[in-house]
């Protein structure tokens, strides 16, 4: 499974998201590749799940992957709940 974390630059917010998600996956013993991208470079790429800040939703309308939007990017509870649900959705399809 491939999870892309997105932000405008590809190494600030998206990297922070990757770090949290890597930690969650490790605790839950789920294998997935988490890759931070900047919005521009991600266009044309594919992933199973895209995790991005909430207000980036308008830039993600044409994305094929399941999109997970996070409001509070330092809230491990919100990130965990939303990302694990997306992973379950992916595994059940």
């Amino acid at each position: 499974m491939r999870i892309a974390t997105l932000c405008g630059m590809g190494f600030g917010t998206s990297m922070m998201l990757k770090l949290f998600i890597d930690e969650i996956l490790k605790v839950e013993n789920i294998k997935a590749e988490v890759i931070p991208w900047d919005l521009g470079s991600f266009k044309g790429q594919q992933a199973d799940i895209v995790v991005a800040p909430m207000d980036m939703a308008m830039h993600l309308k044409n994305v094929q992957a399941q999109v997970v939007l996070i409001n509070n990017l330092i809230d491990k509870g919100e990130i965990k709940e939303k990302v694990l649900k997306a992973i379950q959705d992916q595994l059940s399809t």
């Binding site: 491939r2 892309a4 932000c7 405008g8 630059m9 590809g10 190494f11 600030g12 917010t13 990297m15 922070m16 770090l19 949290f20 930690e23 590749e33 890759i35 931070p36 919005l39 044309g44 790429q45 594919q46 992933a47 991005a52 800040p53 909430m54 207000d55 980036m56 409001n71 509070n72 990017l73 330092i74 809230d75 491990k76």
Partner: protein, 173 residues
């Protein structure tokens, strides 16, 4: 799938021990408590100018941070009341740095949920990977309510710097 090309710089940074710690990119010179500003532009300029004065970034980097907010949106407001400003390394970063100002009065950054902002970080990165450990330490600190409360309640610059500088915890491997 087109993500087969691993981003090797990311992978190698994870196993490298040359990563920069949070304590190495902060400075008393670039940390200010209870700054009075009236807008997100002023907040960004103040935080950015601290980095310029300390010789960490060129002045054009400050404009770049503002431009990022205007062009891509206020997603840099990563949590309620907290913004992590940054632009690209090539926008004028001289050395890795993280400035922090807290605001006397919160100002809106245009985020639908997380406004207004009273904690402003300004990050300058020299590449995509060397600051990852510092970012991890920062994320851990911000994820801890007690640390966040201390940051918000600090009234002196030195006090604020000490709180930042005490963050040496890393997520266990």
């Amino acid at each position: 799938m087109d993500l087969d090309e691993p981003r090797e710089h990311v992978m190698s940074a994870a196993s490298s021990n040359r990563e920069i710690k949070l304590a190495e990119i902060i400075s008393p010179q670039t940390t200010r408590a209870r700054v009075a500003v009236n807008s997100w532009q002023e907040a960004t300029e103040f935080a950015g100018e601290l980095l310029v004065s300390a010789g960490k970034v060129h002045s054009r980097y400050v404009d770049a941070m503002k431009r990022v907010l205007q062009e891509i949106g206020p997603y840099a407001v990563i949590a309620p009341g907290i913004v992590l400003l940054h632009a690209r390394p090539e926008d004028g970063v001289i050395e890795p740095c993280l400035g922090l100002i807290t605001l006397a009065t919160p100002v809106p950054f245009g985020h639908p949920e997380n406004d207004p902002v009273d904690v402003v970080f300004a990050l300058g990165a020299i590449d995509k990977h060397s600051h990852i450990l510092a970012l991890q330490q920062l994320a851990n600190m911000l994820g801890d309510e007690l640390s966040l409360m201390k940051i918000r309640s600090a009234t002196e610059d030195g006090e604020l710097y000490d709180i930042l500088n005490s963050q040496n915890h890393v997520i266990a491997e």
